[in-house]
Protein backbone atom coordinates (compact mmCIF):
# COMPACT_ATOMS: atom_id res chain seq x y z
CA UNK A 1 0.00 0.00 0.00
CA UNK A 2 2.65 2.49 1.07
CA UNK A 3 4.82 2.46 -2.11
CA UNK A 4 1.69 2.72 -4.22
CA UNK A 5 0.52 5.73 -2.26
CA UNK A 6 3.90 7.37 -2.74
CA UNK A 7 3.79 6.81 -6.46
CA UNK A 8 0.30 8.13 -6.67
CA UNK A 9 1.25 11.37 -4.96
CA UNK A 10 -0.13 14.32 -6.90
CA UNK A 11 2.24 16.68 -8.71
CA UNK A 12 1.35 19.33 -6.14
CA UNK A 13 2.50 17.14 -3.29
CA UNK A 14 5.65 16.22 -5.17
CA UNK A 15 6.45 19.84 -5.87
CA UNK A 16 5.65 21.09 -2.37
CA UNK A 17 8.35 23.37 -1.05
CA UNK A 18 9.08 21.46 2.13
CA UNK A 19 9.92 17.72 2.33
CA UNK A 20 8.66 15.24 1.39
CA UNK A 21 7.94 17.60 -1.54
CA UNK A 22 10.90 18.40 -3.78
CA UNK A 23 10.01 21.97 -4.69
CA UNK A 24 12.55 23.40 -2.26
CA UNK A 25 15.33 21.29 -3.76
CA UNK A 26 14.41 22.44 -7.25
CA UNK A 27 14.36 26.09 -6.23
CA UNK A 28 17.71 25.71 -4.54
CA UNK A 29 19.03 24.21 -7.77
CA UNK A 30 17.53 27.12 -9.66
CA UNK A 31 19.27 29.57 -7.33
CA UNK A 32 22.58 27.78 -7.88
CA UNK A 33 21.99 27.86 -11.62
CA UNK A 34 21.37 31.59 -11.52
CA UNK A 35 24.43 32.30 -9.37
CA UNK A 36 26.68 30.36 -11.73
CA UNK A 37 25.10 31.82 -14.84
CA UNK A 38 25.39 35.39 -13.61
CA UNK A 39 28.95 34.85 -12.38
CA UNK A 40 30.09 33.09 -15.54
CA UNK A 41 28.40 35.67 -17.74
CA UNK A 42 30.01 38.57 -15.88
CA UNK A 43 33.42 36.90 -15.99
CA UNK A 44 32.90 36.13 -19.67
CA UNK A 45 32.00 39.75 -20.39
CA UNK A 46 35.09 41.01 -18.59
CA UNK A 47 37.26 38.58 -20.56
CA UNK A 48 35.35 39.50 -23.71
CA UNK A 49 35.88 43.26 -23.38
CA UNK A 50 39.60 42.81 -22.82
CA UNK A 51 39.76 40.14 -25.50
CA UNK A 52 37.96 42.26 -28.08
CA UNK A 53 40.12 45.33 -27.50
CA UNK A 54 43.19 43.08 -27.42
CA UNK A 55 42.27 41.48 -30.73
CA UNK A 56 41.63 44.85 -32.36
CA UNK A 57 44.34 47.03 -30.87
CA UNK A 58 46.80 44.66 -29.21
CA UNK A 59 50.29 43.75 -30.33
CA UNK A 60 50.97 40.70 -32.49
CA UNK A 61 51.60 38.38 -29.51
CA UNK A 62 48.39 39.42 -27.74
CA UNK A 63 46.44 38.90 -30.94
CA UNK A 64 47.93 35.45 -31.55
CA UNK A 65 47.26 34.30 -28.00
CA UNK A 66 43.67 35.52 -28.21
CA UNK A 67 43.21 33.81 -31.56
CA UNK A 68 44.38 30.51 -30.04
CA UNK A 69 42.02 31.00 -27.10
CA UNK A 70 38.88 31.79 -29.11
CA UNK A 71 39.62 29.16 -31.74
CA UNK A 72 40.13 26.31 -29.29
CA UNK A 73 37.25 27.19 -27.01
CA UNK A 74 34.82 27.56 -29.87
CA UNK A 75 36.02 24.40 -31.63
CA UNK A 76 35.88 21.94 -28.73
CA UNK A 77 32.50 20.72 -27.40
CA UNK A 78 31.65 22.59 -24.24
CA UNK A 79 31.19 19.43 -22.23
CA UNK A 80 34.71 18.31 -23.07
CA UNK A 81 36.06 21.76 -22.24
CA UNK A 82 34.26 21.80 -18.94
CA UNK A 83 35.69 18.44 -17.99
CA UNK A 84 39.19 19.49 -19.00
CA UNK A 85 39.00 22.86 -17.30
CA UNK A 86 37.33 21.46 -14.22
CA UNK A 87 40.33 19.28 -13.58
CA UNK A 88 42.93 21.66 -15.00
CA UNK A 89 41.87 25.02 -13.53
CA UNK A 90 42.16 24.16 -9.82
CA UNK A 91 45.51 22.48 -10.49
CA UNK A 92 46.72 25.56 -12.35
CA UNK A 93 45.54 27.92 -9.64
CA UNK A 94 47.31 25.80 -7.04
CA UNK A 95 50.52 25.76 -9.07
CA UNK A 96 50.42 29.55 -9.16
CA UNK A 97 49.63 29.78 -5.46
CA UNK A 98 52.42 27.41 -4.52
CA UNK A 99 54.75 29.25 -6.89
CA UNK A 100 53.93 32.44 -5.02
CA UNK A 101 54.66 30.66 -1.74
CA UNK A 102 51.06 30.15 -0.64
CA UNK A 103 49.29 27.08 0.66
CA UNK A 104 47.43 24.72 -1.65
CA UNK A 105 43.69 25.42 -1.50
CA UNK A 106 40.58 23.40 -2.27
CA UNK A 107 38.41 25.47 -4.55
CA UNK A 108 34.70 25.43 -3.79
CA UNK A 109 32.85 23.84 -6.72
CA UNK A 110 30.81 27.03 -7.14
CA UNK A 111 33.92 29.10 -7.85
CA UNK A 112 35.34 26.44 -10.14
CA UNK A 113 32.06 26.20 -12.01
CA UNK A 114 31.90 29.95 -12.54
CA UNK A 115 35.54 30.09 -13.62
CA UNK A 116 35.16 27.22 -16.06
CA UNK A 117 31.97 28.49 -17.70
CA UNK A 118 33.32 32.06 -17.63
CA UNK A 119 36.37 31.03 -19.65
CA UNK A 120 34.07 29.40 -22.21
CA UNK A 121 31.75 32.41 -22.28
CA UNK A 122 34.73 34.74 -22.62
CA UNK A 123 35.68 33.29 -26.00
CA UNK A 124 32.23 33.87 -27.44
CA UNK A 125 31.96 37.32 -25.80
CA UNK A 126 35.30 38.29 -27.35
CA UNK A 127 33.94 37.56 -30.81
CA UNK A 128 30.56 39.23 -30.26
CA UNK A 129 32.19 42.37 -28.85
CA UNK A 130 34.92 42.49 -31.49
CA UNK A 131 32.31 42.54 -34.22
CA UNK A 132 30.28 45.16 -32.34
CA UNK A 133 33.30 47.42 -31.87
CA UNK A 134 34.22 47.12 -35.53
CA UNK A 135 30.71 48.25 -36.44
CA UNK A 136 31.12 51.51 -34.51
CA UNK A 137 31.35 54.39 -37.02
CA UNK A 138 35.05 55.19 -37.25
CA UNK A 139 34.46 58.93 -37.54
CA UNK A 140 33.01 59.11 -34.04
CA UNK A 141 36.10 57.49 -32.55
CA UNK A 142 38.27 59.80 -34.61
CA UNK A 143 36.37 62.83 -33.30
CA UNK A 144 37.17 61.73 -29.76
CA UNK A 145 40.86 61.26 -30.52
CA UNK A 146 40.99 64.58 -32.38
CA UNK A 147 39.84 66.38 -29.24
CA UNK A 148 42.53 64.88 -27.07
CA UNK A 149 40.72 62.01 -25.39
CA UNK A 150 43.05 59.26 -24.19
CA UNK A 151 42.53 55.78 -25.66
CA UNK A 152 41.09 54.61 -22.33
CA UNK A 153 38.63 57.49 -22.11
CA UNK A 154 37.66 57.03 -25.75
CA UNK A 155 36.98 53.36 -25.11
CA UNK A 156 34.92 54.08 -22.00
CA UNK A 157 32.94 57.10 -23.14
CA UNK A 158 32.58 56.53 -26.89
CA UNK A 159 33.44 53.07 -28.19
CA UNK A 160 31.84 50.94 -25.46
CA UNK A 161 28.51 52.80 -25.34
CA UNK A 162 28.30 52.87 -29.13
CA UNK A 163 29.08 49.22 -29.55
CA UNK A 164 26.56 48.16 -26.91
CA UNK A 165 23.60 48.51 -29.24
CA UNK A 166 25.40 46.38 -31.83
CA UNK A 167 26.33 43.80 -29.24
CA UNK A 168 23.05 43.36 -27.34
CA UNK A 169 21.43 40.73 -29.58
CA UNK A 170 24.58 38.60 -29.49
CA UNK A 171 25.05 39.17 -25.77
CA UNK A 172 21.44 38.18 -25.12
CA UNK A 173 22.08 34.88 -26.88
CA UNK A 174 25.20 34.37 -24.81
CA UNK A 175 23.27 34.95 -21.61
CA UNK A 176 20.70 32.32 -22.55
CA UNK A 177 23.56 29.96 -23.38
CA UNK A 178 25.09 30.72 -20.00
CA UNK A 179 21.89 29.73 -18.19
CA UNK A 180 21.68 26.49 -20.15
CA UNK A 181 25.37 25.66 -19.97
CA UNK A 182 25.07 25.51 -16.20
CA UNK A 183 23.33 22.19 -16.79
CA UNK A 184 26.63 20.81 -18.06
CA UNK A 185 28.02 21.28 -14.57
CA UNK A 186 25.71 18.47 -13.47
CA UNK A 187 28.28 16.03 -14.86
CA UNK A 188 30.85 17.25 -12.38
CA UNK A 189 28.39 16.79 -9.55
CA UNK A 190 27.32 20.34 -9.06
CA UNK A 191 23.82 20.60 -7.67
CA UNK A 192 22.23 23.04 -10.09
CA UNK A 193 18.71 22.85 -11.47
CA UNK A 194 19.24 19.91 -13.83
CA UNK A 195 21.00 17.83 -11.22
CA UNK A 196 18.39 18.67 -8.57
CA UNK A 197 15.67 17.69 -11.01
CA UNK A 198 17.37 14.39 -11.72
CA UNK A 199 17.64 13.64 -8.00
CA UNK A 200 14.00 14.42 -7.43
CA UNK A 201 12.90 12.41 -10.43
CA UNK A 202 15.10 9.44 -9.67
CA UNK A 203 13.96 9.25 -6.09
CA UNK A 204 10.23 9.58 -6.73
CA UNK A 205 10.16 8.06 -10.22
CA UNK A 206 7.95 11.02 -11.22
CA UNK A 207 10.19 11.86 -14.17
CA UNK A 208 7.54 13.61 -16.21
CA UNK A 209 6.44 15.92 -13.39
CA UNK A 210 9.91 17.04 -12.44
CA UNK A 211 11.36 17.49 -15.89
CA UNK A 212 8.26 19.41 -16.87
CA UNK A 213 8.77 21.62 -13.81
CA UNK A 214 12.43 22.14 -14.73
CA UNK A 215 11.44 23.02 -18.26
CA UNK A 216 8.97 25.59 -16.96
CA UNK A 217 11.71 27.14 -14.81
CA UNK A 218 14.21 27.32 -17.68
CA UNK A 219 11.50 28.81 -19.86
CA UNK A 220 10.69 31.40 -17.19
CA UNK A 221 14.34 32.45 -17.03
CA UNK A 222 14.39 32.78 -20.79
CA UNK A 223 11.21 34.84 -21.00
CA UNK A 224 12.29 37.19 -18.21
CA UNK A 225 15.68 37.59 -19.82
CA UNK A 226 14.14 38.47 -23.15
CA UNK A 227 12.12 41.22 -21.52
CA UNK A 228 15.15 42.51 -19.65
CA UNK A 229 17.42 42.51 -22.70
CA UNK A 230 14.69 44.21 -24.69
CA UNK A 231 14.79 47.06 -22.21
CA UNK A 232 18.57 47.22 -22.24
CA UNK A 233 18.57 47.27 -26.03
CA UNK A 234 16.07 50.10 -26.09
CA UNK A 235 18.30 52.07 -23.74
CA UNK A 236 21.43 51.24 -25.71
CA UNK A 237 19.76 52.42 -28.91
CA UNK A 238 19.06 55.86 -27.48
CA UNK A 239 19.69 58.48 -30.11
CA UNK A 240 19.13 56.07 -32.99
CA UNK A 241 16.20 56.81 -35.18
CA UNK A 242 13.55 54.14 -35.30
CA UNK A 243 13.22 52.77 -38.80
CA UNK A 244 9.75 53.22 -40.14
CA UNK A 245 8.42 50.01 -41.56
Amino acid sequence: MMPLAAMAASPFELLALSPPGWGGTLLLGLANTMVIAVGAYALGLAIGIMGAFGKLYGGPITRDLLAVYTTIVRAVPELVLILILFYAVPGLINEILIGLGHERIVLPPLITGIAVLGVVQGAYSTEVLRGAIQAVPHGQIEAARAMGMTPMLTARRITLPLMTSNAIPGLANLWLNATKDTALLAVIGFSELTKATYQAAATTKAFFTFYLAAMALYLAISLLSTVLFGRIEKWARRGQRVMSR
Binding site: Q140, G148, L162, R238, G239, Q240
Partner: protein, 263 residues
Protein backbone atom coordinates in the same frame (compact mmCIF):
# COMPACT_ATOMS: atom_id res chain seq x y z
CA UNK B 1 60.30 77.57 -47.75
CA UNK B 2 57.98 78.81 -45.06
CA UNK B 3 55.47 81.46 -45.85
CA UNK B 4 53.70 83.33 -43.11
CA UNK B 5 50.09 83.95 -43.89
CA UNK B 6 48.20 87.24 -43.64
CA UNK B 7 50.81 89.22 -45.44
CA UNK B 8 50.31 92.91 -45.01
CA UNK B 9 47.42 92.78 -42.57
CA UNK B 10 49.51 92.14 -39.50
CA UNK B 11 50.53 94.85 -37.13
CA UNK B 12 53.40 93.61 -35.04
CA UNK B 13 54.31 89.99 -34.52
CA UNK B 14 51.41 87.67 -33.79
CA UNK B 15 52.01 84.41 -31.94
CA UNK B 16 52.44 81.40 -34.13
CA UNK B 17 49.70 78.78 -33.81
CA UNK B 18 50.45 76.03 -36.30
CA UNK B 19 53.59 75.40 -38.30
CA UNK B 20 54.22 72.56 -40.71
CA UNK B 21 57.74 72.06 -42.01
CA UNK B 22 58.60 69.92 -44.99
CA UNK B 23 55.83 67.43 -44.34
CA UNK B 24 55.99 64.12 -46.15
CA UNK B 25 53.39 61.39 -45.96
CA UNK B 26 53.23 58.08 -47.76
CA UNK B 27 50.57 55.43 -47.68
CA UNK B 28 52.61 52.34 -48.41
CA UNK B 29 54.39 52.98 -51.70
CA UNK B 30 52.39 56.04 -52.63
CA UNK B 31 53.73 59.40 -51.51
CA UNK B 32 50.73 61.64 -50.93
CA UNK B 33 52.54 64.66 -49.43
CA UNK B 34 55.94 65.49 -50.87
CA UNK B 35 57.23 68.27 -48.67
CA UNK B 36 54.59 70.77 -47.60
CA UNK B 37 55.23 73.73 -45.31
CA UNK B 38 52.85 76.21 -43.79
CA UNK B 39 52.71 78.65 -40.91
CA UNK B 40 49.49 79.97 -39.44
CA UNK B 41 49.72 82.72 -36.85
CA UNK B 42 46.97 83.96 -34.57
CA UNK B 43 44.05 85.24 -36.59
CA UNK B 44 45.14 83.67 -39.86
CA UNK B 45 42.54 82.01 -42.01
CA UNK B 46 44.31 79.67 -44.40
CA UNK B 47 42.22 78.19 -47.18
CA UNK B 48 43.55 74.97 -48.65
CA UNK B 49 42.29 74.19 -52.12
CA UNK B 50 43.18 71.60 -54.72
CA UNK B 51 41.81 68.74 -56.77
CA UNK B 52 40.53 65.48 -55.37
CA UNK B 53 43.39 63.36 -54.07
CA UNK B 54 45.86 66.24 -53.99
CA UNK B 55 46.50 65.61 -50.27
CA UNK B 56 44.45 68.35 -48.58
CA UNK B 57 42.77 66.11 -46.01
CA UNK B 58 45.97 64.20 -45.38
CA UNK B 59 47.82 67.44 -44.63
CA UNK B 60 45.10 68.60 -42.27
CA UNK B 61 44.97 65.24 -40.50
CA UNK B 62 48.73 65.20 -40.04
CA UNK B 63 48.50 68.41 -38.03
CA UNK B 64 46.73 66.64 -35.16
CA UNK B 65 48.28 63.26 -35.93
CA UNK B 66 45.12 61.53 -37.04
CA UNK B 67 47.59 60.46 -39.71
CA UNK B 68 51.20 59.90 -38.74
CA UNK B 69 53.57 61.89 -40.94
CA UNK B 70 56.35 60.01 -42.69
CA UNK B 71 58.76 62.87 -42.02
CA UNK B 72 58.79 66.58 -41.36
CA UNK B 73 57.92 68.71 -38.38
CA UNK B 74 54.62 69.70 -36.80
CA UNK B 75 54.80 72.61 -34.38
CA UNK B 76 51.69 73.49 -32.40
CA UNK B 77 51.70 76.70 -30.37
CA UNK B 78 55.47 76.90 -30.66
CA UNK B 79 55.94 73.36 -29.36
CA UNK B 80 57.30 70.76 -31.71
CA UNK B 81 55.51 67.43 -31.51
CA UNK B 82 58.23 64.89 -30.88
CA UNK B 83 58.06 62.00 -33.29
CA UNK B 84 59.44 58.50 -33.40
CA UNK B 85 61.36 57.49 -36.52
CA UNK B 86 58.12 56.06 -37.92
CA UNK B 87 56.34 59.40 -37.51
CA UNK B 88 54.09 58.38 -34.63
CA UNK B 89 54.10 60.75 -31.65
CA UNK B 90 56.90 59.88 -29.23
CA UNK B 91 54.87 61.12 -26.29
CA UNK B 92 51.16 60.34 -26.37
CA UNK B 93 50.48 62.93 -23.66
CA UNK B 94 52.09 65.67 -25.70
CA UNK B 95 49.93 65.09 -28.75
CA UNK B 96 46.80 64.66 -26.62
CA UNK B 97 47.55 67.97 -25.01
CA UNK B 98 48.12 69.65 -28.38
CA UNK B 99 44.84 68.20 -29.70
CA UNK B 100 42.98 69.84 -26.83
CA UNK B 101 43.84 73.17 -28.45
CA UNK B 102 42.79 72.19 -31.96
CA UNK B 103 39.09 72.11 -32.77
CA UNK B 104 38.50 69.82 -35.72
CA UNK B 105 35.40 69.84 -37.88
CA UNK B 106 34.87 66.89 -40.19
CA UNK B 107 33.08 66.55 -43.48
CA UNK B 108 30.73 63.96 -41.98
CA UNK B 109 30.11 65.85 -38.69
CA UNK B 110 30.97 62.82 -36.50
CA UNK B 111 28.80 63.89 -33.59
CA UNK B 112 28.56 61.16 -30.97
CA UNK B 113 25.24 59.55 -31.73
CA UNK B 114 24.51 58.23 -28.23
CA UNK B 115 24.70 61.68 -26.69
CA UNK B 116 22.40 64.66 -26.97
CA UNK B 117 23.74 67.80 -28.60
CA UNK B 118 24.42 69.35 -25.20
CA UNK B 119 26.17 66.19 -24.00
CA UNK B 120 28.30 66.27 -27.15
CA UNK B 121 29.40 69.80 -26.31
CA UNK B 122 30.29 69.22 -22.67
CA UNK B 123 31.90 65.79 -23.11
CA UNK B 124 35.49 66.91 -23.63
CA UNK B 125 35.34 70.02 -21.42
CA UNK B 126 34.07 67.94 -18.49
CA UNK B 127 35.94 64.66 -18.95
CA UNK B 128 39.20 65.84 -20.46
CA UNK B 129 39.63 69.49 -19.53
CA UNK B 130 38.02 69.02 -16.10
CA UNK B 131 35.80 72.08 -16.38
CA UNK B 132 33.09 72.00 -13.67
CA UNK B 133 29.92 70.64 -15.22
CA UNK B 134 27.66 73.64 -14.60
CA UNK B 135 30.26 75.91 -16.10
CA UNK B 136 30.65 73.63 -19.14
CA UNK B 137 26.88 73.57 -19.59
CA UNK B 138 26.72 77.37 -19.44
CA UNK B 139 29.45 77.69 -22.08
CA UNK B 140 27.80 75.01 -24.24
CA UNK B 141 24.43 76.72 -24.11
CA UNK B 142 25.96 80.03 -25.10
CA UNK B 143 27.68 78.38 -28.07
CA UNK B 144 24.50 76.58 -29.11
CA UNK B 145 22.64 79.84 -28.93
CA UNK B 146 25.29 81.38 -31.12
CA UNK B 147 24.93 78.74 -33.84
CA UNK B 148 21.14 78.88 -33.51
CA UNK B 149 20.65 75.46 -31.94
CA UNK B 150 19.77 76.15 -28.32
CA UNK B 151 16.28 74.77 -28.88
CA UNK B 152 17.84 71.47 -30.04
CA UNK B 153 20.18 70.99 -27.10
CA UNK B 154 18.37 67.90 -25.80
CA UNK B 155 17.91 66.31 -29.21
CA UNK B 156 20.05 63.46 -30.45
CA UNK B 157 22.17 64.12 -33.55
CA UNK B 158 20.21 61.69 -35.73
CA UNK B 159 17.16 63.93 -35.41
CA UNK B 160 18.92 67.01 -36.82
CA UNK B 161 19.40 68.04 -40.43
CA UNK B 162 22.89 67.88 -41.89
CA UNK B 163 23.29 71.63 -41.59
CA UNK B 164 22.20 71.56 -37.97
CA UNK B 165 24.54 68.66 -37.22
CA UNK B 166 27.48 70.50 -38.74
CA UNK B 167 26.67 73.67 -36.80
CA UNK B 168 26.52 71.55 -33.63
CA UNK B 169 29.85 69.97 -34.55
CA UNK B 170 31.38 73.42 -34.94
CA UNK B 171 29.98 74.39 -31.54
CA UNK B 172 31.47 71.20 -30.09
CA UNK B 173 34.87 72.14 -31.48
CA UNK B 174 34.49 75.65 -30.04
CA UNK B 175 33.57 74.27 -26.63
CA UNK B 176 37.16 73.27 -25.96
CA UNK B 177 38.13 76.93 -26.55
CA UNK B 178 40.64 75.96 -29.22
CA UNK B 179 43.59 78.07 -30.26
CA UNK B 180 43.04 77.02 -33.86
CA UNK B 181 40.30 75.31 -35.85
CA UNK B 182 40.77 72.71 -38.56
CA UNK B 183 37.97 72.33 -41.09
CA UNK B 184 37.95 69.48 -43.60
CA UNK B 185 35.39 70.31 -46.28
CA UNK B 186 32.72 71.18 -43.73
CA UNK B 187 29.99 71.67 -46.33
CA UNK B 188 30.74 68.90 -48.82
CA UNK B 189 28.31 66.43 -47.30
CA UNK B 190 25.46 68.92 -47.18
CA UNK B 191 22.50 69.49 -49.46
CA UNK B 192 23.04 72.74 -51.36
CA UNK B 193 20.31 74.58 -49.47
CA UNK B 194 22.04 73.80 -46.14
CA UNK B 195 25.50 75.02 -47.12
CA UNK B 196 24.75 78.68 -46.45
CA UNK B 197 23.87 78.30 -42.78
CA UNK B 198 27.16 76.51 -42.07
CA UNK B 199 29.27 78.94 -44.07
CA UNK B 200 27.75 81.85 -42.21
CA UNK B 201 28.84 80.34 -38.89
CA UNK B 202 32.38 79.88 -40.21
CA UNK B 203 32.33 83.41 -41.62
CA UNK B 204 31.51 84.75 -38.14
CA UNK B 205 34.41 82.81 -36.65
CA UNK B 206 36.80 84.23 -39.22
CA UNK B 207 35.49 87.71 -38.53
CA UNK B 208 36.18 87.42 -34.82
CA UNK B 209 39.80 86.61 -35.55
CA UNK B 210 39.86 82.85 -35.05
CA UNK B 211 42.85 81.03 -36.39
CA UNK B 212 41.66 78.46 -38.89
CA UNK B 213 42.85 76.12 -41.57
CA UNK B 214 40.01 75.43 -43.94
CA UNK B 215 40.05 72.76 -46.61
CA UNK B 216 37.25 73.65 -48.99
CA UNK B 217 35.83 73.39 -52.47
CA UNK B 218 33.83 76.60 -52.00
CA UNK B 219 36.10 78.98 -53.90
CA UNK B 220 33.98 82.07 -53.48
CA UNK B 221 33.84 81.50 -49.76
CA UNK B 222 37.57 80.79 -49.53
CA UNK B 223 38.32 84.04 -51.29
CA UNK B 224 35.99 85.93 -48.98
CA UNK B 225 37.13 84.65 -45.57
CA UNK B 226 40.77 83.70 -45.96
CA UNK B 227 43.87 85.84 -45.84
CA UNK B 228 46.04 83.14 -47.31
CA UNK B 229 45.30 80.50 -49.91
CA UNK B 230 47.29 77.38 -50.53
CA UNK B 231 46.79 75.42 -53.73
CA UNK B 232 47.92 71.81 -53.43
CA UNK B 233 48.68 69.79 -56.52
CA UNK B 234 49.76 66.18 -56.27
CA UNK B 235 51.18 66.50 -52.77
CA UNK B 236 53.04 69.77 -53.30
CA UNK B 237 52.19 73.42 -52.79
CA UNK B 238 51.83 74.55 -56.39
CA UNK B 239 50.95 78.14 -55.58
CA UNK B 240 50.07 80.18 -52.54
CA UNK B 241 49.50 83.73 -51.51
CA UNK B 242 46.80 86.21 -50.57
CA UNK B 243 43.37 85.36 -52.01
CA UNK B 244 43.31 88.34 -54.38
CA UNK B 245 46.47 87.04 -56.00
CA UNK B 246 45.68 83.32 -56.02
CA UNK B 247 42.16 83.77 -57.32
CA UNK B 248 42.60 87.04 -59.17
CA UNK B 249 45.93 86.54 -60.90
CA UNK B 250 46.97 82.88 -60.65
CA UNK B 251 50.45 82.31 -62.06
CA UNK B 252 50.50 78.52 -62.24
CA UNK B 253 48.88 77.01 -65.29
CA UNK B 254 47.54 74.14 -63.24
CA UNK B 255 45.86 76.52 -60.85
CA UNK B 256 44.39 78.48 -63.74
CA UNK B 257 42.98 75.25 -65.16
CA UNK B 258 41.71 74.17 -61.75
CA UNK B 259 39.90 77.43 -61.14
CA UNK B 260 38.45 77.39 -64.63
CA UNK B 261 37.21 73.83 -64.21
CA UNK B 262 35.16 74.98 -61.22
CA UNK B 263 33.64 77.74 -63.32
Amino acid sequence: MTVTAREGKASGPRPERIRIENLHKSFGEIEVLKGVSLTACEGDVVAVIGGSGSGKSTMLRCINFLETPTSGKIIIGGEEIRMRPDGSPADRRQIEHARQHLGMVFQSFNLWSHMTILQNLIEVPVHVLKVPKDQAVAIAERLLDRVGLLAKKDAYPAYLSGGQQQRAAIARALAIEPRAMLFDEPTSALDPELVGEVLSVIRDLAAEGRTMILVTHEMKFAREVSNHVMYLYNGLVEEQGPPEQVFGAPRSERLQKFLKSLG
